[in-house]
């Protein structure tokens, strides 16, 4: 079947064929997967990379002198280089493998925040944040006496260079901000925010799981000091992610975890540690996960992040218009103007909405029955819900394999929901 493709050159049919799960059904209907904000589906190349490790290599990395361990080690290093290239980090030492974006944020909060912040210092953040980029900073504030300040949002839930500037002072030591909201898809002006942070002597931590999976990212040109992301949201395996950190910052930090593989010498009473990234990667890593992560970023690069972002942009515009036309629907965030991005800035491919007074959970359940997977609830972003003044939303989030037909199925299922709850 040929799908209505949003652009003529985007190879949507080939892409869909690469994801085995897209051939399956849910509740007896062909699966429409619109919960990419939570986690993405996995293409065959990623599954194969994991399988190859499980069935053929199966050895631990680093200290093995035998061929399988050697091969695991080489592939592990190659995966790091792939991830480094994907975000254009300066060198492999700036890419730390973690168990996911949440661990990445905590490594910065603990190793930099708790080490270098003190009473009177300020941490600037926003109400857009995922809990993973908020609670660690609340904890740092409580432990060090630093103060949290929030960048004021405009009514559509956006920040501007001016609003960032109004929150950043010479007491600001760190700005923690999302690269793309997982609730509304909104993307703050990162480059300008980084400039303001740096001008005031602060570092900037970008919470990147949504941004990195859906848009081209160049940490050097953005001026990120730290960037967190998760493989599972970008076609990769669960249980692995990365922390990008500027080398000098990483070098100055304390590790969060201690154990084997990170050491130069260990005595009974004390130990000395290796450089970056090793000192942050103690213990046997998620080897199959890292190999799958490498395969995932190579896969995404082969399609092109620009092409993926363009594809999602068109899906989003179509979805916002079609969903916005369903009776009783309220859209949230920058697309709230019925399919037109408020302020002219296109957000990432996420649409949050509610259907009249119907509880998001109920909407999600009827959609489920129609084979359409969406997320409902507060999306690990309660301050954002408080800002929007709702207990939760229905969230449809798109990725490289979604189609206009998927959105039609979503819209039909929303009409069905209205019927059930009329």
């Amino acid at each position: 079947m040929t799908r209505r493709s949003v652009t003529r050159t985007y190879p949507i049919d080939r892409i869909r064929a690469e994801f085995p799960i897209l051939g399956t059904t849910m509740r007896g209907k062909p699966l429409v997967y619109l919960d990419n904000g939570a986690t993405s589906l996995k293409p065959q190349v990623v599954i194969d990379a994991e399988l190859d490790y499980l069935t053929r290599i199966s050895a631990s990395i680093h200290r093995g002198v035998y061929q399988l361990s050697e091969e695991a080690t080489v592939k592990f290093d190659e995966a790091r280089a792939s991830v480094r290239q994907f975000i254009n980090a300066g060198d492999d030492g700036e890419v730390v493998f973690t168990k996911g974006a949440t661990e990445s944020s905590n490594i910065v909060a603990f190793g930099w925040g708790r080490k270098f912040l003190k009473a009177g210092d300020e941490i600037v953040t926003t109400e857009l944040e995922h809990h993973a980029n908020l609670i660690p900073w609340q904890q740092v504030a409580a432990a060090t006496g630093a103060k949290l300040r929030f960048v004021p949002l405009d009514p559509a839930g956006r920040v501007s260079p001016e609003s960032v500037q109004s929150a950043v002072t010479e007491r600001t030591r760190l700005v923690a901000i999302t690269g793309m909201s997982n609730v509304t898809g909104y993307m703050p002006p990162l480059r300008e925010t980084a400039e303001i942070a740096h001008r005031n002597g602060a570092v900037i931590v970008v919470d990147g799981p949504q941004l990195v999976s859906h848009h081209p990212v160049d940490v050097q040109s953005l001026g990120c000091d730290f960037l967190t992301f998760s493989a599972h949201k970008m076609c990769g395996p669960t249980g692995v992610g990365a922390l990008y950190g500027r080398r000098d910052l990483l070098e100055a930090m304390d590790p969060l975890l201690y154990g084997g593989d990170m050491i130069v010498r260990v005595g009974k009473e004390s130990a000395t540690f290796k450089g970056v990234p090793d000192k942050f990667e103690t213990g046997t890593p998620n080897i199959s996960g890292v190999l799958g992560f490498g395969a995932a970023v190579n896969y995404l690069r082969s399609i092109g992040m620009e092409a993926i972002a363009d594809h999602e942009r068109e899906l989003l515009a179509y979805a916002a218009r079609r969903v916005g036309e369903v009776p009783g629907v309220t859209l949230y965030g920058p697309m709230a103007e019925r399919g037109v991005a408020a302020g002219g800035v296109d957000p990432g491919g996420i649409l949050s909405f509610n259907l009249g007074e119907i509880h998001p959970h109920d909407v999600g359940a009827v959609l489920d029955g129609e084979g359409v997977a969406v997320r409902t609830g507060f999306h690990c972003a309660q301050p954002m819900m408080q800002f929007l003044g709702v207990p939760g939303t229905v969230r449809a989030s798109f990725y490289l394999y979604n189609t206009l037909e998927d959105i039609d199925r979503l819209v039909n299922a929303l009409h069905k929901t209205l019927e059930v709850f009329s």
Binding site: P360, H361, A365, G377
Partner: protein, 149 residues
């Protein structure tokens, strides 16, 4: 019969739409809040008793249809009945949803059987149980009021 009919039986939707018991009792003899942190649902239960009999019972709060229909059924089933009766219905309701026991409700609580279908939707079981877990706490309070240490 398709999925939505399976979960959202008409009887459940009726209880969901009914706003009859959805109000605060002030004063109430017993008042308890119940929260389901995984979906944010938040229900309050209000009970007045009169000599071992539940004379009034209402709920208020935010929740999905399964959650609020369940709360409404709770109110309908318990009003005018004894504390002991409430405990029995509670344990049968939990048994039906968490231990796959056959429903076996007194006639006045027969609507609760409609919730059996929730069993097939494991994440919704918590929705159906929220009001009942809240009741559980109130029953403990009543117990300890009756037997002060």
């Amino acid at each position: 019969m398709n999925f939505a009919d399976d979960l959202y039986k008409e009887i459940i939707l009726d209880h969901y739409r009914s706003k009859k018991n959805r109000r605060r009792l002030d004063p109430a003899d017993y008042h308890q809040e119940g929260v389901n942190p995984s979906c944010g649902d938040d229900i309050e239960l209000f009970i007045k008793t009169d000599g071992g009999i539940i004379s009034e019972v209402t709920y208020d709060g935010i929740g999905c249809s399964i959650c609020t229909a369940s709360a409404n059924m709770l109110c309908e089933a318990l009003v005018g009945n004894s504390i002991e009766f409430a405990g029995k219905v509670l344990s049968r309701f939990k048994g039906m949803l968490t231990r796959a026991e056959e429903p076996d409700f007194p006639d006045s609580a027969a609507d609760l059987e409609a919730m059996q279908g929730v069993r097939d939707y494991p994440v919704r079981i918590k929705c159906a149980l929220l009001a009942w877990s809240t009741l559980d706490q109130i029953l403990s309070d009543i117990q300890s009021d009756a037997n002060p240490q």
